[in-house]
Amino acid sequence: MAVIEQLTQDFLRTKKLPHIWCPGCGNGIVTAALVRAIERADYDQRDVVIVSGIGCSSRAAGYLNFNTLHTTHGRALAFATGLKMARPELKLFVIMGDGDCSAIGGNHFIHSARRNIDLNAIVVNNHIYGMTGGQHSPLTPTGKRATTAPRGTLEREFNLLDLARGAGSTFGARGNAAQPRQLEQLIARAAKHKGFSVVEALSPCPIAYGRRNKLGGPVDMLKNMKESSISIERAAGKEDSELEGKTITGVIYQDEVPEYAAEYYYSIGKEIPVNTGG
């Protein structure tokens, strides 16, 4: 059997498909990249837990064949923190949307970063609240239209990775749905990093965001996403003027700092059970 079919068989709950996402949505691409990254990381299926919040992308948890925890809006990281502290040997991937993570969940996001707890946050950034029909989020670029910003939002957007790093996160990467192989590698690297990792996955929402902002159909949006991206390696040495309007992808930062759960267990003199997988 081809590798990809085997992966589908093992890691997807095929009976729960088709998924609820709209045609042209990037969530499926990001979910597929996550599945391949888990495969690449070579974890035992038993040790992997998928935690998610509320929103379109958070529905991914229901399609993945692991222990999956679909929590309340904005709180995925707080649930994950409790689970990781109770069971530090587990490998947690936390899927959140941009609003889920950075608005209602903003407090948990910065504090997870500050603790540097070993969670892998996958933030699917489509710049909009999709499930509720297209309201602006803290990651909607200034000037873009939303149902709650019909004339274009006046608010400034967060740079999610600057926010995470400033708060103490030790691994940050950015990828997009137009370059799924790179995204897969980034998630796999995040998984191997000990500490709070953030992978921002840019993803098109043609229905609730693209249409209102005249960004074209799904293909146009993916094409634009690819063309406006530049890898951090290629961006190195370029003038600021040359990078105007470009989105930098790749591993943006990686620091080695003690990880919280490991430090806690060391401090109480208790051994963390060895990962049974790998």
Partner: protein, 376 residues
């Protein structure tokens, strides 16, 4: 019998010790008066027991972390007070829906809002019942002494595990901060009721047939946990018959275990004319009055103290209403449990409120004055 040692401690400390005796090894919380001593005790004790103490960024996160740790297989508790209890409500609803065991302590203080943070009140009776949205079952205990706090915390943890249902402990500020003698068994392991170690071959996380143990994450049983209505395997559903069945099932599990869930205590005359129905620290004032009136003077009075507030002890109150002419309901609020008493008494006895909401306890004199009027 395990060896015992009497110690002097606060209600809040007894609550922490009760949790530890019941096998709780995880605490997540956020500082708030008058509950902070529970957190401080846990922070001091849990690391030595190999447990986890974590101070979270807010009340919401504390509730979430407790649920997350429970899914990992730990016994968990969190403590807060009025304003923090309000913040925890959404995730309490999640734990009820997803059937995740945990214990939530609310050391009540005078509200609404920031209120009088250091003054006692029994104002959260209805919040404990209806604080989270939607129709949902709840279990709420209200201890009247430090000793009772210790044992009701143990009962809360064990019941929560057995029914896979959050249990709320409503403490009064005066119970939380009062020091009394408690006898704590030396071997705390004896207090832990094991639910089940074995996973049946046909295990389903939300078996329609009835109670099924929670199998923690990480042991190869790949199921889904969600706050959405879900099928027997945890997967979301909006199918009307399934939705109705699920809601019925989470209510029925409490009804089927009523004898373990509904705890009350009656003292006094066998054929009382006047009965006091109360809970928490108000039991203490009422007990002093009833002891004097019944034991010393053989007057036809009685006291029904409610250790369980929710589900409401309807049968016990109905029984007394058949005998008594008058039921007095002292509460340190503007009248919360009294509407429930009236609902079940259905006019069979006169139900008289005794409310105090100035941040002070109801005194025995207040109760005996009112009781005297109905006895003469």
């Amino acid at each position: 019998m395990p060896e015992t040692k009497p110690v002097l401690m606060q209600g809040n400390e007894a609550c922490a010790e009760g949790a530890i005796s019941a096998g709780v090894r995880f605490y997540a919380g956020y500082p708030i008066t008058p509950s902070t001593e529970v957190a401080e005790r846990m922070a001091a004790r849990l690391p030595d027991l190999g447990g986890v103490f974590i101070q979270m960024e807010d009340e919401i996160a504390s509730m979430a972390a407790v649920i997350g740790a429970s899914i990992g297989g730990m016994r968990t508790i969190t403590a807060t007070s009025g304003p923090g209890f309000s913040l925890k409500q959404e995730n309490i609803g999640y734990a009820i829906m997803a059937e995740i065991p945990c214990v939530i302590v609310d050391v009540q203080r005078m509200g609404p809002s920031t209120g009088v943070p250091t003054a006692p009140s029994q104002g959260d009776v209805m919040q404990a019942r209806w604080g989270t949205h939607g129709d949902h079952p709840v279990i709420v205990f209200s201890p009247s002494s430090v000793y009772e706090t210790y044992y009701l915390t143990i009962a809360a943890v064990n019941l929560s595990q057995k029914l896979r249902q959050p249990v709320i402990l409503l403490l009064d500020e005066v119970i939380g901060h009062m020091r009394e003698k408690v006898t704590i068994p030396r071997d705390s392991k004896l207090m832990v009721e094991k639910v089940s170690d074995k996973v049946p071959a046909d295990w389903k996380p939300y078996d329609e047939k009835g109670l099924t143990p929670l199998v923690p994450f990480g042991f190869g049983h790949y199921y889904h946990v969600t706050g959405l209505f879900h099928d027997q395997y945890g997967f979301p559903t909006g199918d009307p018959p399934q939705v109705e069945r699920s809601l019925d099932r989470i209510h029925e599990k409490l009804e089927k275990s009523r004898d373990e869930v509904v705890l009350t205590n009656y003292i006094g005359h066998k054929e009382p004319r006047v009965v006091i129905v109360t809970y928490g620290c108000s039991v203490r004032s009422a007990r002093a009055v009833v002891k004097k009136a019944y034991w010393n003077n053989r007057q036809p009075v009685g006291l029904l103290s409610l250790q369980t507030l929710w589900p409401f002890p309807d049968r016990e109150v109905k029984e007394l209403a058949k005998k008594a002419d008058v039921i007095i309901v002292p509460e340190m609020n503007m009248g919360q449990i009294i509407s429930e008493v009236e609902r079940h008494v259905k006019g069979e006895a006169e139900v008289i409120p005794l409310n105090r909401y100035d941040g002070e306890m109801i005194s025995p004199d207040q109760i005996s004055d009112l009781m005297g009027r109905w006895l003469s």
